[in-house]
């Protein structure tokens, strides 16, 4: 582990492990949950995992770049949420369910 640019109370690796764990939990949720809303929340989890990774590295390296990117991510996530929720509502209206297994129009 390199010398941190700014002193940190908790070593950066721990943050990374936390971020990795959150990302893995989110990814598994996206892959295996049926409910679109839950999947959506899992996506948010993955985004925030990367946010943690960015922020921790920014602090560790003493650079503001990572922190700036986090704001972009937050803004994009907000936009994405609005679009995504709109799609979910529409899917619910069409199909009466938010179960992803029912959305298999492309089945071969």
């Amino acid at each position: 582990m390199n010398e941190p640019a700014l002193p940190m109370l908790v070593p950066v690796a721990w943050y990374q492990l936390l971020a990795a764990a959150m990302f893995a939990i989110g990814a598994l949720g996206v892959l295996f949950r049926r409910n679109i809303l839950v999947i959506f929340m899992c996506v948010e989890l993955m985004l925030n995992a990367t946010n943690i990774a960015f922020v921790s590295f920014a602090r560790h390296l003493g650079s503001l770049d990572g922190q700036v990117i986090v704001f972009f991510v937050l803004a994009v996530a907000a936009a994405e949420v609005s679009v995504g929720l709109a799609i979910i509502i529409d899917v619910f209206r069409k199909r009466g369910t938010v179960d992803l297994a029912a959305a298999n129009l492309l089945k071969g």
Binding site: L31, A103, K107, G108
Partner: protein, 713 residues
């Protein structure tokens, strides 16, 4: 005469009008247009004929090039016509007899549903036939050759609702393909050997380039002859002609008696320069012609269908023509071709008149006694019969006798005997047909009561043909000095008959052998020179070799002489005195008259009045009669030897090779693809999550590789 090249285009015009404007024409106008087109062609042919006759004998050759056609390197086949005495004779026969048959057809085909189609084909045929005889090169001749073959097919199968008619058409076409294959090969070989397909150039170059009696010239001529056997219905390709009688009777008269089937004889006459260089081929032509003459003639003895009798008679008479070609008497062959066109067209049209009067009945056992009902038809049919039988003053007598004389006088005694027997058969079956049809008691009361004489549009052409069949023979009288008009007319093209032809053939043959001997002698001499140079003391040895060489040369010369005077080919020398022996010719004429009368007499004894005489004979010779009635089972033989093996092989190729092998492999590829697709389809669940799993797994794999594997980013 300058416009002779228009002759073929008149029937073509008729064909186009009748073919394109069928909707606006009725039955009558179609017949009139077709007849007028051929009639106009005949008038133009007559004008050309007089124009040609006005020229000195050795200048009677007119060329006309319409346009270039195929030019590639040395190869040049223009669209060009050649009018000389030979093609003139053919053109006159085709347009003259053709015109009469067209007119006759107006009456005969009256009321048929496809008359317009009929006349369209008939005009197309006349066009193709005229192209065939007027062509100045082999390739254009082949166009006409195939054109007449096509029209023959179309017209044999004219009544296409009848399966036997379409089958017969196909048979004619397919059997002719075998001959055409020979024609194409021969044309290619000719071009390869001589560098030209033009008739005049072939005649000029062949004697200088091709070794007389050599393999190449023999191959070329044999292949041309193969083409001729197909078109002119000779053994072994004759079987299609009797079946071709399924076509309307005018078609049988025009195509399968007067014109198309004589194309083979015309081809041989046109390329006779090549044939005179190939003694072996000439021998083959003689044997095939003579065999066909007697073979087909004997089949004709037992047939009961009136048209079948005439069909076998045609095959037999064509055999006579080829036999004449085989001894080098090309002019006599053409003469017989002309008279045969007259009287056989007459007989066919006469039989057509009978069939017309009997509403389609062709079986002679159901006829009888028609003399009273159809006096005109009876009269002209008898004239045609007398001409065919070879009774003096009628046309057939002169031409057939000329052939017999030429065969005999060239020393071919055995072929003469065989042809004489064939002539006996001819007289017999002709008389038999006349007696069964017109004499005796009516054997079918109902048919007889409804029989009627044909209208004038049919009987007038018959009468004209009857006149031609009577006087046609005077074109070439035997013995009488100055009476051989036809021969004189054809001499500039075909030479001076078999004796001159034989002479022309023998000299190159001898020269060829001498040429063979010369290098051998030279070689031997040079050998001895070499020996002398290397070894000083072997003077004796070299002397011995030189002596050997001289002996070798002598042997070769001896072979040359032997070749000239003997061998299978009985050309000259064997019976030299016959050449100009008038007494002998007179005796032979009397013999052939006797033969004709004997045939008529025998048939009269058997078939006039008492039916039991013929019946008794039939029972005594039951086996032979069945053999003849069934045409020697040749069709069955071909079926067994050719058709069935081909079928079996085709079945194998179809069911095993094609269906299992080729289709199997193609379908196999398809089935494999479909199966694979079916399997892979399952992966395409339509659930985005499953795809996402794949993406994640892939990403993880890539990361793993980058971290621990050989890859680096």
């Amino acid at each position: 005469m300058d416009y002779f090249w228009l002759i073929p285009f008149l029937p073509l015009l008729g064909f186009l009008i009748n073919g394109l404007f069928q909707k606006w024409l009725n039955e009558k106008s179609a017949g009139l247009i077709a007849s007028a087109a051929v009639g106009a062609a005949f008038v133009l042919a007559m004008i050309s004929f007089f124009g040609l006759m006005a020229l000195p004998a050795d200048q009677r050759v007119v060329h006309h090039t319409i346009s270039s056609w195929i030019e590639a390197g040395r190869f040049n086949a223009p669209l060009a016509f050649l009018l000389d005495p030979l093609s003139m004779v053919m053109v006159l026969v085709i347009t003259g007899v053709g015109f009469l048959i067209h007119v006759y057809s107006i009456g005969y085909m009256h009321g048929d549903s496809g008359v317009k189609r009929f006349f369209t084909y008939l005009n197309l045929f006349t066009f193709a036939m005229l192209v065939l005889v007027l062509a100045d090169n082999l390739l254009l001749l082949f166009v006409g050759w195939e054109g007449v073959g096509l029209c023959s097919y179309l017209l044999i199968g004219y009544w296409y609702e009848k399966k036997s008619a379409t089958d017969a058409g196909k048979k004619a076409f397919i059997v002719n393909r075998i001959g055409d294959f020979g024609f194409i090969l021969a044309t290619s070989l000719t071009f390869w050997a001589l560098g030209t397909v033009n008739f005049t150039e072939i005649a000029d170059r062949a004697p200088g380039v091709l070794e007389a009696g050599g393999g190449l010239i023999t191959a070329i001529t044999l292949l041309f002859f193969l083409g001729a056997t197909g078109k002119s219905a000779q053994i072994p390709l004759y079987t299609w002609l009797p079946d071709a009688m399924e076509g309307p009777t005018p078609v049988s008269a025009l195509i399968h008696a007067a014109t198309m089937v004589t194309a083979g004889v015309y081809l041989l006459a046109r390329t006779h320069v090549l044939y005179t260089l190939a003694p072996l081929t000439m021998f083959v032509v003689l044997v095939i012609g003579m065999a066909t003459a007697i073979f087909a003639g004997s089949i004709g003895l037992a047939q009961t269908d009136i048209k079948k009798v005439l069909a076998y008679s045609t095959v037999s008479q064509l055999g006579f023509m080829f036999a004449a070609c085989g001894v080098g008497a090309f002019a006599a062959a053409i003469f017989h071709l002309v008279t045969h066109a007259f009287f056989k067209a007459l007989l066919f049209l006469g039989s057509g008149s009978v069939i017309h009067g009997l509403h389609g009945e062709q079986e002679m056992p159901k006829m009888g006694g028609l003399k009273a009902k159809m006096p005109t038809t009876f009269l002209v049919f008898v004239i045609g019969g007398l001409a065919l039988s070879g009774v003096p003053i009628f046309a057939g007598f002169f031409s057939k006798d000329e052939i017999l004389w030429q065969v005999f006088s060239t020393g071919n005694v055995i072929p003469w005997v065989i042809l004489a027997i064939a002539a006996l058969f001819t007289a017999f079956y002709t008389t038999r047909a006349i007696l069964l049809t017109f004499y005796g008691q009516p054997r079918d009361k109902h048919l007889f009561d409804h029989a009627h004489e044909s209208p004038a549009v049919m009987t007038v052409p018959l009468m004209i043909l009857a006149v031609l069949s009577t006087i046609g023979g005077f074109l070439w009288l035997p013995i009488v000095s100055g009476g051989q008009k036809m021969k004189e007319w054809l001499t500039p093209v075909l030479g001076d008959g078999p004796h001159a032809a034989a002479h022309a053939m023998v000299e190159p043959a001898a020269a060829g052998h001498a040429a063979e001997a010369a290098p051998a002698a030279e070689h031997a001499l040079s050998m001895s020179e070499a020996l002398k140079a290397t070894t000083q003391h072997s003077a004796e040895e070299s002397a011995r070799v030189a002596t050997q060489a001289v002996h070798g040369a002598a042997d070769a010369a001896h072979t040359a002489v032997a070749h000239v005077s003997g061998g299978v080919f009985h050309y000259p020398g064997l019976l030299p005195a016959f050449g100009h022996n008038t007494t002998l010719e007179l005796i032979l004429i009397l013999v052939s008259v006797a033969i004709a009368l004997a045939g008529i007499f025998l048939a009269t004894r058997l078939y006039a009045g008492r039916a039991e005489a013929a019946e008794r004979l039939r029972q005594t010779w039951g086996g032979l009669h069945r053999l003849l009635l069934n045409k020697y089972f040749v069709d069955e033989l071909y079926d067994m030897a050719v058709v069935r093996p081909v079928r079996t092989a085709s079945d194998f190729l179809w069911k095993i090779v094609d269906v299992r092998g080729i289709d199997g492999s193609v379908n196999g590829v398809g089935t494999f693809m479909r199966g694979t697709g079916d399997e892979l389809r399952r992966w395409q669940t339509g659930l985005a999550q499953n795809y996402a799993v794949a993406i994640v797994i892939g990403t993880l794999l890539i990361v793993a590789f980058v971290l621990w594997g050989k890859w680096s980013l």
